[in-house]
């Protein structure tokens, strides 16, 4: 399972929270461009903005627990030529301030970088209030908005640097828990591109964020079942790389999507829309099935809600069964 994108997945994997990569990326972006500025809503260390805040205190603004103000101050900073990164937990931003993002950032076309940390059920013990599952859907529906969910900290660092160069409003989705580092430092990252991490002809597994690693594990198990799965990592959920995805599905004719969020409106929704209009194919969507999370240990929760390699494998078999029928 080794290629240009991935480390040797059979070796010992290092793990690190995806948000750590954002913290390093923001610091580097700040060094590269003096117009990069940052705002946070009382979660500077949790969102890893602290690295930037310490290095560039004059370019960092503490907003307090005020997420509506967070993004609208961001809009004002962008209006004056700044490249503002504004961060909080995803449950609060974009959870609470969607209208301000819609009007003052997307409709107003200001390149604010909204960063939502602690997304997904893997937030764990904090429970359903803090486990943001609807952010992809909320941001994907907005015209002008770019939606990015990196699969590990290495990719998050690259994504952050790419966002600092991008002239559009962006949303970056980050997770709290340590996630295995699967991509290499040399793996390319471009906004709007999907990457074929594993080649296969029998079924296409399409994953984003923390679930990409689970899709790769599922592909390994499927290989042992005699099924060659193609694994596509979709770090940019919008704009969706339709070409890469359709090329694969035209070959395999069967699809499973995987994400740590609501399938309604999320990656699963996006892929369903794409396929239904362009190349209908049997599809199963792994993700939150129109319900909220609850407190528990991250690993327990992922298994409880079916967000792991085991359930991706089962879904793949189900899809292929349907395909045969």
């Amino acid at each position: 399972m080794s290629n240009m994108y991935l480390v040797d997945l059979n070796g010992k994997l290092e793990a690190e929270p995806i948000r750590k990569g954002f913290g390093r990326g923001l610091l580097e972006a700040g060094k590269q461009d003096e117009n990069v500025v940052a705002c946070c809503a009382d979660l500077t260390d949790s969102t890893q903005m602290s690295l930037f805040a310490k290095e560039f205190p004059e370019r960092f603004t503490e907003i307090g627990v005020a997420e509506q103000n967070l993004v609208t101050v961001g809009s004002g900073l962008a209006a004056m030529g700044k490249v503002p990164f504004v961060s909080s937990y995803a449950a609060f931003s974009p959870g609470r301030n969607w209208e301000q993002i819609r009007t003052t950032i997307c409709l107003n076309d200001r390149p604010v970088k909204v960063v939502g940390s602690h997304a997904g059920v893997s937030v764990g013990p904090d429970g359903a209030t803090h486990q943001m599952l609807e952010d992809i859907a909320l941001m994907r529906v907005l015209p002008n908005m770019v939606v990015i969910a990196p699969c590990d900290s290495v990719e998050a660092e690259k994504a952050t640097l790419a966002m600092a160069q991008d002239k559009r409003p962006n949303y970056l989705r980050l997770a709290r828990e340590a996630t295995p580092i699967i991509t290499t430092a040399k793996a390319p990252f471009e906004i709007g591109k999907a990457y074929v991490f594993e080649k296969g002809a029998d079924i296409t597994l399409i994953a984003t964020g923390t679930m990409t690693y689970q899709a790769l594990l599922a592909a390994d198990k499927l290989f042992k079942d005699g099924i060659e799965a193609e694994v596509i990592h979709v770090p940019t959920i919008k704009p969706l790389d339709a070409e890469t995805i359709l090329k694969s599905v035209r070959k395999t004719g069967a699809v499973v999507t995987a994400e740590e969020g609501q399938i309604i409106g999320g990656l699963g929704g996006a892929i369903a829309e794409l396929l239904a209009e362009n190349h209908p194919a049997p599809l199963k969507r792994i993700g939150m099935q129109d319900r909220f999370g609850e407190s528990g240990a991250p690993d327990q929760l992922l298994e409880h809600f079916g967000l792991d390699a085991k359930h991706i494998r089962l879904a793949a078999h189900a899809v292929l069964g349907n395909a045969i029928i």
């Binding site: 307090g64 409709l107 076309d109």
Partner: protein, 285 residues
Amino acid sequence: MGQKLPLERLETIANDIREDIIRMLEHAGSGHSAGPLGLADVFTALYFDIMKYDPKNLTWEDRDILLLSNGHCVPVQYATMAHAGFFDRKELMTLRQLGSRLQGHPERTKLPGLENTSGPLGSGLSQACGMALALRMDKQQHRWIYVVMGDGEQDEGNVWEAAMLASKYKLHNVIAITDRNNIQIDGPTESVMPLEDFKAKWEAFGWHVLEIDGNDIEAVIDACAMGRTIVEKPTMIVAHTIPGKGVDFMEYDFAWHGKPPDHEQAVKALHELRTLGGKIRSEHE
């Protein structure tokens, strides 16, 4: 702007702007009447005396910035901009029509010269804060950010989040003007959601507060000049205005907050504005 205009000339301009507001709204068949009429003096003062800008160089780096937070009052901004040379007055009659640059609520990306997009209430002040923070970082504090806000919109929590931030960071380049006309859609502000003691609230949030007659152009000019001298705090100018100002049957009546005049009402309104008790003479084509 270049040389200062005499007060009498400014009052004539304000009256012409009111006439255009009536014509635009009647032609559009929808929109808000009371707020824009009440704000004509504030907008005349801003565009014809207070702000520095160049309608022929909209991205001039030293320009002052005006943010309209209560976007539904945008007809007064469109009419004032047309009079100030941003675009031809004929375009005013495209208000709210398909393909028009003059959207029902202001959209920056549609009409060059607008500095923000608004309509959903309560977000203008925080955008001003972001702009003022950027000015401070860039050491460009010779520029001013003016924000026109409604009073009803201050029911929104976002306003008070911004009020705290501006005070914390002493964003003295922000000069906010509240159109204190005491009406909102559902009725008087004090029955919908009481705002008083309004001045004390802003003072408690750490702002320098001035109270003026918002239909007195000279008072608006003076208050902004005063605001620019206050360097330790942001300034809030509470501009008491008469909703529907200049048209007797609209004045003080909250029913005119969100509707336009029909043809008969427009004719009556224009006649009133043209005479205004014989106080001024308006110039007409």
